[in-house]
């Protein structure tokens, strides 16, 4: 049974390659990254064998603890990624709990991340190459450590999946974890600067971790090498107990999730309300704008992009305060404009096959394009205006404000223009409706790269006049250039948008059935 489960995992992995070459390429590139990373880690471990034993212990314990912590946290961020051995799918088969768990444990080591972790864990024997006895012990604890990593992720997932059976909870938690991710830059800077100032404290931190469930397993070989067999035994006991507790938690969560299938929860809105459909113009384009706006605020995949808007200025403010430079804050408007403009590159892909409704109702391509673009502009324009003018107000420098606003509006409008064409032509693999917004399909990022970069390049060229005028304004400190930049942004952007909508509309009119077929194939 265990072998069958592992084989199932491998089979699904292989079949997913067969579906498309781009996925295969993506996995190969992912594996290359993994292999390079692994080589670096293994090299570092070999290098540690030339360092004093205490240094090796400290490094291994710190890295190992981080790995365990990572395996505990990542599944929460990426819930719904590895569904091959989803207990919900296996519930109908009469599989005893123990072989099921062993099978899931082993199949966890089969993916790229699992394999890399396992090899690196076994590699913790490398620093002790010169004392073979310790190295042998390190091999054993390495296996235990890798198993702990996988079990902790399974335990966390099984508990979380119980909590997350409601759609609402699942979607909300998926979005909440985004905030630390976006703020990762400042957080990492904070931690590293903290670490740098307390580098002397690292050995004692490692010593502490060595007695904790996170790091005990990694500290055993070091303790043996340091001639402390009792300490090694105690740490080993902690490590084994940790594994046992995690296993029990996983077992409990799994047995519960096997008998309580996930179910949907519903909240009803007052009937008789049409929402935005009653407010925006009752035309085809107006209806599409209302639908898109509703989605921007109701669909986690769009909300994720929306969340970036308030967080980006916060990040800019953080960087400008630590660097004592005002350039960052001024960039907030254009950066948000860029993100929103280019964010629509996959707009039709997000519809998935629901786009069939547009095709069957023979919606003119131009109305479709206008609707989608205007939905984004209704909140995009006020947002970038506030950020551009707000930055000027905070910095007390009003001279570049009009040019900055012009650049932001120009980027927003020409982004919408470019995406009006691309989204009529290309289908990007995006998370499907209802999926975790972080679920990037294998291959998604790779196959996006070509058209995305092309779109960025086109957008940069289209915005050159605004960029040039703003630069001149900043260099010469003459307000007239700044105002010219504003005019350029509005006029040029508007013209480009009209052109983009027309071209995109024509493409859509000509190829809507082909686009739908592509969406079907992708779904």
């Amino acid at each position: 049974m265990v072998a069958t489960l592992v084989r199932l995992r491998l089979l699904v992995l292989r079949n997913s390659f067969r579906r498309s070459t781009s996925q295969l390429v993506a996995v190969i590139i992912g594996a290359l990254y993994g292999a390079v990373g692994l080589l670096v880690v293994l090299g570092a471990l070999v290098g540690l064998s030339f360092a004093p034993a205490e240094v090796a212990t400290t490094a291994v314990v710190l890295a190992g603890s981080a790995a365990v912590l990572g395996w505990a946290v990542f599944p929460l961020l990426l819930s719904g990624v590895e569904q091959t051995l989803d207990p919900g799918h296996l519930a109908v088969y009469p599989i005893a709990l123990r072989p099921l768990m062993v099978g899931m444990l082993l199949s966890g080591a089969v993916g790229v991340a699992g394999a890399a972790t396992t090899i690196a864990s076994l590699g913790t024997a490398l620093p002790w190459l010169r004392s073979p006895g310790v190295a042998l012990i390190a091999l054993v604890t390495g296996v235990l450590g890798a198993a702990t990593c996988i079990v902790v992720s399974r335990a966390v997932t099984s508990i979380a999946s119980g909590l997350a059976s409601g759609r609402r909870f699942r979607e909300a938690s998926g979005l909440l974890v985004l905030i630390p991710l976006i703020l990762a830059g400042p957080i990492i800077i904070g931690i590293t600067s903290g670490l740098r100032s307390s580098a002397d404290a690292l050995p004692s931190v490692a010593a502490g971790l060595g007695w904790s469930p996170l790091g005990a397993v990694w500290a055993v070989p070091g303790a043996v090498a340091a001639g402390d067999p009792l300490g090694a035994l105690l740490r080993l006991l902690i490590a084994v107990a940790t594994f046992a507790v995690l296993w029990a938690v996983w077992r409990w969560g799994l047995s519960r999730s096997l008998v309580t299938p996930t179910r949907a929860s519903a909240r009803t809105r007052a009937p008789g309300k049409s929402g935005l459909f009653g407010i925006l113009p009752g035309t085809q384009a107006g209806a599409i704008a209302a639908r898109c706006l509703t989605y921007w605020f109701r669909d986690p995949r769009y909300l994720r992009q929306l969340l970036v808007i308030p967080l980006l200025p916060a990040i800019m403010w953080f960087y400008s305060s630590i660097n004592h430079s005002n350039g960052y804050l001024f960039a907030a408007g254009p950066v948000v404009a860029f993100a929103l403009g280019i964010g629509m590159i996959a707009d039709v892909s997000y519809d998935s096959t629901a786009f069939a409704l547009h095709v069957s109702k023979a919606v003119p391509g131009r109305a479709d394009r206008w609707g989608r673009a205007s939905a984004m502009l209704t909140f995009g324009v006020p947002a970038v205006a506030i950020f551009s003018l707000g930055a000027a107000a905070v910095e007390g420098d009003w001279l570049p404000a009009p040019g900055l606003l012009g650049l932001s509006l120009g980027m927003l409008l020409s982004g919408a223009a470019v995406c009006s064409v691309t989204s009529a032509r290309f289908v990007f693999p995006v998370p499907e409706p209802g999926d975790n917004p972080f679920r990037s399909r294998p291959g998604a990022n790779i196959s996006l790269i070509g058209p995305t970069f092309a779109a960025w390049g086109v957008m940069a060229v289209l915005c050159l006049p605004e960029i040039a005028l703003l630069t001149i304004a900043l260099v010469t400190r003459e307000a007239v250039w700044s105002w010219l930049g504003l005019a350029a942004g509005i006029i040029l952007g508007a013209v480009l948008l009209v052109v983009g909508v027309r071209v995109g509309g024509r493409v859509l009119d000509a190829r809507a059935p082909e686009l739908l077929q592509q969406l079907r194939k992708d779904a």
């Binding site: 759609r167 049409s274 459909f277 009653g278 009752g282 989605y295 998935s352 069939a356 409704l357 069957s360």
Partner: protein
């Protein structure tokens, strides 16, 4: 209308190939105006592909589709305005409430807002979805989802309704209600094309039927003609083949 020869749908020489697989291999089909037409066939016979091409959702490799004399692929705007589509296996804009979803479909077909709102209210009442009008479609049951998709297909008062598997996972009471609605629609001069696996249902509900297998029409005409004195199910099995006679393997016997 010019070229309208009493046929709601006229299909000639329809072909579609997906890679190596020929999904539809030269289908001719005449759906008389005002008929209740059943399309039956085994899984993978090409029913969905045929209906997709007939409704302008999938471009045929070859062949012609006329809706009341209008070429679907030459004048899609005119043709599509006459057709209401319920597709099997496509998503809906399910983050909208049921009411918003139908209203959206109405506005997309180009009607003004008061009309769209009025028709939405009527359709929700007709389909027993009034109380669910404020619930997001994503939280609907499978049967309710089918019904809301049907409402979206009917909102622009099409002359032809093309429904792919409309009764799948719909409970018996709702199915009976939907049947009544479709019957009333046909009595009012509309044409309905349904695809289904359920022979019994087609036999009771439809007046015309076509049997499709392996991308070809093997029998078409009035239900009585096609079943030729036998039941539709027996006739279907006869036409399509693949019926296995005999007992199952020994190990599957418990007595």
């Amino acid at each position: 209308m010019a070229g309208d020869d009493g046929l709601a749908i006229r299909i000639r020489g329809l072909h579609k190939r997906f890679g190596e697989k020929i999904a539809v291999d030269g289908i001719d089909l005449d759906v008389p105006s005002g008929s209740f037409y059943g399309l039956v066939g085994p899984n993978g016979a090409g029913k969905t592909t045929t209906l997709s091409m007939a409704t302008g959702l999938l471009r045929p490799d070859a062949g012609e589709v006329l809706i009341h004399g209008v070429d679907m692929w030459r004048q899609p705007l005119v043709a599509k305005a006459m057709v209401g589509v319920l597709s099997d296996g496509v998503r809906l804009f399910d983050r909208l409430t049921g009411q918003q979803m139908v209203e959206y479909a109405g506005l997309l077909s180009g009607m003004d807002r008061p009309t769209a709102q009025q028709r939405t209210a009527d359709l929700l009442r007709l389909l027993d979805l009034e109380s669910a009008g404020g619930t997001l479609v994503v939280d609907y049951s499978a049967g309710m989802t089918k019904k809301i998709a049907l409402a979206a297909a009917m909102v622009h008062a099409p002359r032809v309704l093309v429904l792919d598997e409309p009764f799948e996972s719909v409970d018996p009471v709702s199915a009976a209600n939907i049947r009544d609605i479709l019957r009333t629609y046909v009595d009012g001069g509309g044409t309905v094309v349904v695809s289904s696996h359920v022979m019994d249902l087609v036999e009771r509900m439809c007046d015309h039927v076509a049997v499709i297998t392996a991308g070809r029409v093997v029998a078409a005409g009035s239900v009585d003609d096609v079943r030729a004195g036998s039941t539709l199910e027996d006739r279907f099995v006869e036409l399509v083949g693949g019926r296995r006679v005999g007992e199952g393997p020994e190990w599957l016997r418990h007595s």
